[in-house]
Symmetry: C2
Subunit: 247 residues, 2 copies
Amino acid sequence: MRLTAPTSSHGVTERLFTLPFPTGDVPGVLWTPDGVAGPHPLILMGHGGGQHRRAPGIVAGARRFVTGGGFAVAAVDAPAHGDRPRDARHEGLLTELRQRMRATGDVSEVLAEFHTLLADQSVPEWRAVLDAVGALDHVGVGPVGYWGLSMGCALGMPFVAAEPRVRAAVLGLDGAETSAEAAARVTVPVEFLVQWDDERVPRAASLALFDRLASTEKTLHANPGRHVEVPSFEGDSALRFFTRHLR
Amino acid sequence: MRLTAPTSSHGVTERLFTLPFPTGDVPGVLWTPDGVAGPHPLILMGHGGGQHRRAPGIVAGARRFVTGGGFAVAAVDAPAHGDRPRDARHEGLLTELRQRMRATGDVSEVLAEFHTLLADQSVPEWRAVLDAVGALDHVGVGPVGYWGLSMGCALGMPFVAAEPRVRAAVLGLDGAETSAEAAARVTVPVEFLVQWDDERVPRAASLALFDRLASTEKTLHANPGRHVEVPSFEGDSALRFFTRHLR
């Protein structure tokens, strides 16, 4: 893994990294607390559809986890997102997605297919990121959490199901169509976010996905508002949730 | 209002009180932080069906609010509960409740009638408690919160709807049959608890009641388990919720 020199801002050290992977380089970013020796428990953050590793919501969440809980946080560009190339299958599904959006607005079937394609790539990539980042002195091999909403949930669910190093996850804004099969294999504590008036994910599909999680400890947090209107106090709640389970 | 002499234990001062009321004395209890001058923001706690003002869940919750947030906390025996007498209407409905429980297990209609009867008494009582407790030097007239689950929600919903001094409420374990009309008049922030496998309140009725709340800020917290199995971390969450809104 290649790491850039650290830069620091308001108590948070940031390093960009590139992880060589058989199917192409994975660009990522690592945030750690300034001047605090590791190891730190690690939170992996999966961004939403159309976003990238340094999207504003990811950076704000990462800073909160680092400064509020002393966590290390890593994010990567998902396949076909950020600085990563799209192949013919990506382009084909994205074209179909746009066509259906214009025609009927019902994109759930194509979106599920797109997310399944991306997850086939991203699950092994996340596992490699965990190997590489965990080998750094200032991170270390300790408890790991995963945070991801919307596409970050769709791609994260099979990763959390497959990776025993992940001990707790904040997921949500996603429905049963995409992630139900993986959810039934998730057994770690989960905080699951639902937007009560989500215009992209039907309420029943959200509730059904929460229902499918095999975790003994799982909490659904539902708030009024549309898909992107998750209230900021849920960020504080996620921090406390990870602190309770990883520290 | 008559108050007993204070007793103190582990940082919490307890005073029993009796509030004279036209329809009979209301026995209550007031908890405040030891040795901290008032005024303190006040949380009113409504107990569940068959319980009383010093039920273990009420005492534990009150201690957490007092020691964790510096709140004053008051609880009273609901009508027909604890040390309070039952009249012929109470006895009649309780007998019918027991008969239906044995016959069909479906008690929702009788329970709604019982709760409506009790709420007609308890709403003006809570308002009088608020007047009397707020007049005490070590409580004072400040922001007020209401906490009540199950019957404590059914009786609390119309109180929260009617009483402008209440600025935030933790409610739940209750369905739309009983409280929907009052919920539509509640506008303060609400944290609403649902037990995902509640054997007494159908899941759909719980979700419908949350849906009916007119509050701009409302959060549903759903956890696996039966009616009485609310996880203890929800107590911490309630403390943070009241701290955020009342302090």
